[in-house]
Amino acid sequence: MLKTALKLWFCALLMVALPAASAVQQEPSSNTVAVSEFVQSVLSRAASPSAVAVSFQNVSSLSPEAQEALQNAVLNGFRAANVKLVKAEQAVADVQITFSEDWQGYVWLANIQMGSSSQLVIKRLSHQQRAASSRAPTLTLRKISVWQQEAPILDFFQDNQNLLILEPDTLSLYASDSGQWRPRQTLGIPHQHSWPRDLRGRLEVHGSEINVFLPGARCTGKISPPALDCNASDDPWPIDPGQLVAFFSPRRNFFSGLLAGQDGGASVAPFFSGAAWRNGDQRFWLFTGTDGRARLFQNELATPVATMNGWGSTLAAVHSTCGSGWQILTSSPADTVRLDSVQAVEFTGHEALPVSAPIDFSGPVQALWTAGNYSQVVNGVQQSQTSGKYEAFTLTIVCNQ
């Protein structure tokens, strides 16, 4: 008999608690700690009454299900504090609870009426971030977060032992320690003039040798022992390592268009970003011009074979085992204060065809650079619009089955 009663009670409890718990999990405001704190504040302000009458109102965007779950949680909070829930005429205090919200989150208010006096308790809670949406891919872009920090990141390098983060004024070195990156050394980057806006930088590491390219400056150094020597310089930046380098405007955020290196000696329109790749015996270069047009060159850099509009200004080539073997990852043509995305495209003839779904970012993608010994990785940097933090990440291509 007792067993049956207990079973029935348990089933009834589950029926009430499970949907409520599920709704609570979906809504950010409904965590048990917050509810407990809120109830304690109400009781403290009402001088720990033995019996209260509680009523609810919702003027927020909480769904009815979440509101009900929250109400149950609050009522349970009172019960857990050994406070009787009674009708208004029997109550020591009449507590009117309103679920409201401001622009940053939920606001719970409790208006406590005790005789002729009233007290107000306000509790603020943050909205939970919405999960980023994703679309069905063909080729899939795989993003791996490497590092996050408050300070701006211009570029980074990582191997099994080292992580190097290039910032506007420093190069930070981290060493791998049981799977964690531990700070090892911070090397200063002295510079005479203030940096231009939308500051860009390039970090190259070969073995222990470090090369840093900044607008109007160049640093060289070593990982071990850590050292960095910086000087004013207009040395060209690498575009296609060993093959093509390009001069960067010393007080701006773009390449002047003057090219050097084995493939160099030519001049193209000023550009923000460039990529180089091969397809069989054909060689290709793609530059996103400061005039908003992307220009494709084939085999020689004299005249573009195609000019395209509407491209994002940041791109990088990546080598993979999928499709033609080379894809171009390009940012979206959004403002730098908005959300961004990166998508893979391939060229068929002179036409760009998307080959992956865009991967969404929570802020502008500020850098994409080809990396890895076989150009199989793209290193990227984004700034999250929600947290304000900078994130270093890698992008690789996964072939779909």
């Binding site: 309103t98 401001d102 306000i122 679309r135 063909t138 806006r197 979206s332 043509p333 204060v337």
Partner: protein, 483 residues
């Protein structure tokens, strides 16, 4: 596979073509950004008593910077100050300064900052313990000093006197004032040596006193990068597929009674408290928001909007014409009820409509309100000499920190100054609610509506950030077609 590719291509073709001829994300340097604004501003001095201080502050922010700043998400950010801390009482605050130059090439020192802040708030004792540290000693605790000091009135200004005896104001901002004709045109030029990096645009030019209605009718917005819109113009512009950005309903439109209960202007009687209350109950705020503001505004019952505090709905009373009539009859038994002269901003057509609507509502309760246009009601000095009983004011929301916003609103109203220390000392939202409730109890201020700021943007303009309270952040602004 093909089936998968089709929707993907549809998405992607959007990505590759939607941006039109230009669409790259990376900012471009160069170009002149021309902005058309309605209000006329004579001075950029953050402490000048302007008719349109909010417009002044928007332009002045290009040149004069504050120690701290609040970003689009409402987060506090270091600006001229890199760090700060308070003593336990929250009365003494210290700010550590960034190494920055003024636009004349001199170094910003703690002494400069202390002098500037002392002028902004004479009640503060400001000092410079060392060259890079500023100490502020307030008469009472200030819980949100770092947020408060982000208000435009606390912008750091070096004041010098020119050869002709005229005041020269020097800032540290990303743009220098290069040309100006007070009330007509201000032109700012990029500060090449700005500590945060040279801004992208070469120039930003503000054309003031524009008749936006005429510009819209003539479709002459082409040469401009942006223009302010009034709420009733939003729909027209949107219907033409133009870009409109609106803030949250942040400006407060409020009816303010000028005469205090005691000690007011000689020969001028205050409006009876019962009549003030009756008028508050008679105004159909929902109709004003829905019809005159075309559902873009929100009926107001508090000094701060619901979206900022979450508690505005608990303030004020709903419209109650019967109660308004009772109060009016009650007052009539004791005092002679004179018509209420209500002044509104002469240059604001919407303010005229609202004032007229208030007069219609008041008549329903047996109260006579006589609206008329005045040219300088937003200036506190000019307002003190106005002969009206009440004014219809539109007050900007200067901060997204509720305490700082409320203290700034009190300052703009020129009323309840004695409450400022309590507001700044409020440690909990409940305290702020109590203060606001008490301020409204006297019915000297009748909140009518919260109204958004609106802006038309040319499609060649990028990174124009309008914050939730209507403040502009133009430090990342750039335009297409630049070099």
């Amino acid at each position: 596979m093909k089936r998968l590719l089709l929707p993907l291509f549809a998405i992607s073709s959007l990505l590759l073509t939607a941006a039109g001829t230009y669409g790259s994300a990376r900012p471009r340097y160069g170009g002149t950004v021309r902005v058309l604004i309605h209000d006329k501003v004579a001075s950029l001095d953050p402490l000048s008593d302007e008719d349109h201080p909010a417009t002044r502050d928007r332009m002045a922010a290009l040149t004069f910077e504050t120690l701290t700043a609040v970003d689009a998400q409402g987060r506090l950010r270091p600006n001229l100050a890199l760090s700060w801390h308070a003593d336990q009482t929250k009365r003494v605050w210290q700010f550590r300064l960034r190494l920055v130059n003024f636009q004349d090439g001199t170094v910003l020192t703690a002494a400069d900052v202390a002098a500037s802040l002392s002028k902004s708030n004479p009640a503060w004792k400001c000092s410079a313990p060392d060259r890079q540290t500023v100490a502020i000693e307030a008469p009472g605790p200030i819980q949100h000093m770092a947020e408060l000091i982000a208000l435009p009135r606390y912008a750091i200004v070096k004041r010098e006197t020119g050869d002709s005896g005229s005041a020269i104001l020097i800032g540290t901002g990303s743009y220098k004032l290069s040309q100006w004709q007070p009330g007509e045109r201000f032109q700012f030029t990029a500060n090449e040596d700005y500590w945060g990096g040279r801004p992208f645009a070469d120039n930003i030019e503000f054309q003031m006193g524009a008749s936006l209605r005429d510009q819209l009718m003539d479709r002459q917005l082409g040469p401009y990068a942006a223009t302010e819109l009034s709420v009733d113009q939003i729909r027209t512009v949107e219907q033409n597929n133009q870009t409109v950005v609106t803030s949250r309903p942040s400006d407060l439109l409020a009816l303010v009674f000028l005469q205090p209960e005691t000690g007011g202007k000689p020969g001028k009687k205050p409006v009876d408290a019962r009549i003030r209350t009756a008028l508050g109950l008679a105004i159909n705020k929902a109709a004003i928001s829905n019809v005159l503001f075309q559902r873009r505004g929100a009926p107001a019952s508090g000094l701060l909007p619901q979206w900022l505090t979450g508690y505005e709905f608990m303030l004020g009373s709903a419209m109650n014409l019967e109660r308004a009539k009772e109060l009016r009859a009650d007052a009539a038994a004791y005092v002679v009820i004179s018509p209420i002269a209500l002044a509104y901003d002469f240059s604001d057509p919407l303010a005229k409509l609202v004032a007229e609507r208030i007069a219609v509502d008041a008549r329903e309760a047996g109260i006579i309100v006589q609206p008329y246009g005045e040219s300088h009601i937003n200036s506190k000095t000019a307002r003190s000499s106005i002969n009206a009983d009440a004014v219809l004011l539109r007050l900007p929301l200067q901060s997204v920190d509720p305490a700082s916003a409320l203290s700034a609103r009190i300052d703009d109203l020129g009323l309840f100054q004695e409450s400022t220390s309590a507001i700044l000392g409020a440690a909990r939202p409940e305290d702020l609610f109590d203060i606001e409730r008490k301020l409204l109890e006297s019915n000297r201020v009748l909140p009518v509506a919260h109204v958004p700021q609106a802006l038309w943007l040319n499609s060649n303009v990028h990174n124009w950030q309008q914050l939730v309270n209507g403040t502009w952040q133009l430090d990342q602004l750039w335009v297409e077609g630049a070099r």
